[in-house]
Symmetry: C2
Subunit: 246 residues, 2 copies
């Protein structure tokens, strides 16, 4: 069975899945950018030659995956990390009494390097490929509680620099969106307990050998493309890492 519309690689079978693929393709090609509205249902129906229900089912899934956001009476928008709800989707640290707070970030390290084994494996690179490697110290209520060691492929972030990272007005994932057209839509995380080393102890003002929560994260864009590898260490004396399993 051939493609039913435009040049999208439709394998056929289920029409709404084809529509979803086509929408996803348009998104990853940047036809509609984060925070922008996509065309109205009526226009998309004309474009794809399908019924409302079929289009809706395709969009339903993209909404469920947090890729699109619908607003009745306004339109359907490409999701961003700017939106308040989306920030805490990827920042899951709360005070132990349940209080949510936005962290302040200090860039503590930045350099260009060859990917080590762990980074290459996590990002699907060849060992030796270039990465930018940088560290952030995150504070809540003026107390440093978390250190993020982050690696991203130079290939996907060719113009990244320490200055631009320092000047970013927004969240990191928002910066990826606005300045590099890269949309983080999913993360895989693995958690362990570890002990604070000398640097951890200094930066977080704790004793060496304190227990820390370590989070190894791989962040993905469309089509399961791996964008970022991050190792976080969290001081859980007064905070905790939370999530809910529905």
């Amino acid at each position: 069975m051939g493609s039913r519309f435009d040049a999208s690689a439709s394998i056929g079978g289920v029409l709404y899945k084809d529509v979803k693929r086509a929408l996803l393709a348009a998104l990853s090609e940047g036809e509609w950018k984060p925070a922008e509205a996509i065309p109205s249902e009526r226009r998309l129906i004309e474009r794809f030659g399908v019924s409302v229900g079929t289009l809706r089912k395709a969009i339903d899934e993209l909404v469920a995956e947090n890729i699109l956001i619908r607003h009745q009476g306004r339109g359907t928008y490409v999701a961003t990390h700017r939106m308040e709800d989306h920030f805490f989707r990827f920042f899951r640290v709360l005070r132990q009494d349940g209080h949510r707070d936005y962290p302040t970030v200090r860039l503590a390290k930045f350099r260009r390097a060859k990917a080590d084994k762990a980074e290459a494996a996590a990002l699907g690179l060849s060992p030796g490929d270039a990465v930018f490697r940088f560290s952030n110290v995150l504070s809540l209520e003026n107390t440093p509680v978390m250190i993020d060691d982050i690696a991203v492929p130079v290939e996907r972030f060719p113009t990244l620099s320490e200055a631009r990272l320092r000047e970013r007005p927004n969240t990191l994932y928002n910066f990826y969106q606005d300045d590099f057209g890269i949309n983080i839509i999913r993360t895989d995380e693995r958690l362990r307990a570890t002990l604070a080393n000398a640097e951890d102890a200094e930066w977080m003002g704790i004793a060496e050998g304190s227990a820390l929560l370590q989070v190894l994260r791989v962040a993905y864009s469309y089509h399961d493309e791996r964008i970022e590898y991050r190792v976080s260490k969290l001081n859980t004396t007064h905070h905790e890492f939370t999530f809910s399993q529905p």
Copy 2:
């Protein structure tokens, strides 16, 4: 606006939400039990007097919440914890190389007690209400890696005993389902790093003061009813706690 069908407390407004509420009510009253099929779409349409699309939208949400499972050509079933996919929904421990394995469980403690402050707060009890409190040691490949300290209200598990807990053929949540008609459908978890105490060290064969991952879990049934409070401690030397954030 009054109820549109049977005795369900319909506040009106959105029909498919009413249907969903009615289905949920029937489920929590035990009209259909775990692993059983609910009536076919055609029969439910007659019962509720709605169209296919409306019924389907209600069921769609229950499927998305892992409460029902659809099988084309067979029927729609009440989810259980028996099913292979569902076990690892709540047991998120993997070997560091990614290998999944079912744990073996040893019941290490069991007693009836008055709820302490943490248990009462987590389960919404008055301090002093009766709980069953028991501990499991979980092993992977014959090595103990996790200790679960579990508390449940006596009121919801009146006939629970050490013998029944020890003889249960299946997973714990499956036991709750089969023997007490209680369906765990969601958990909230909070994670911290902590250090092994003497008992942890003895039971897991590690040094006192080793770093452990601590997981505080509240498990819910329908209507956000709190059923179980659990504090787990995991040795992350060779294993890790995983999840993905879509």
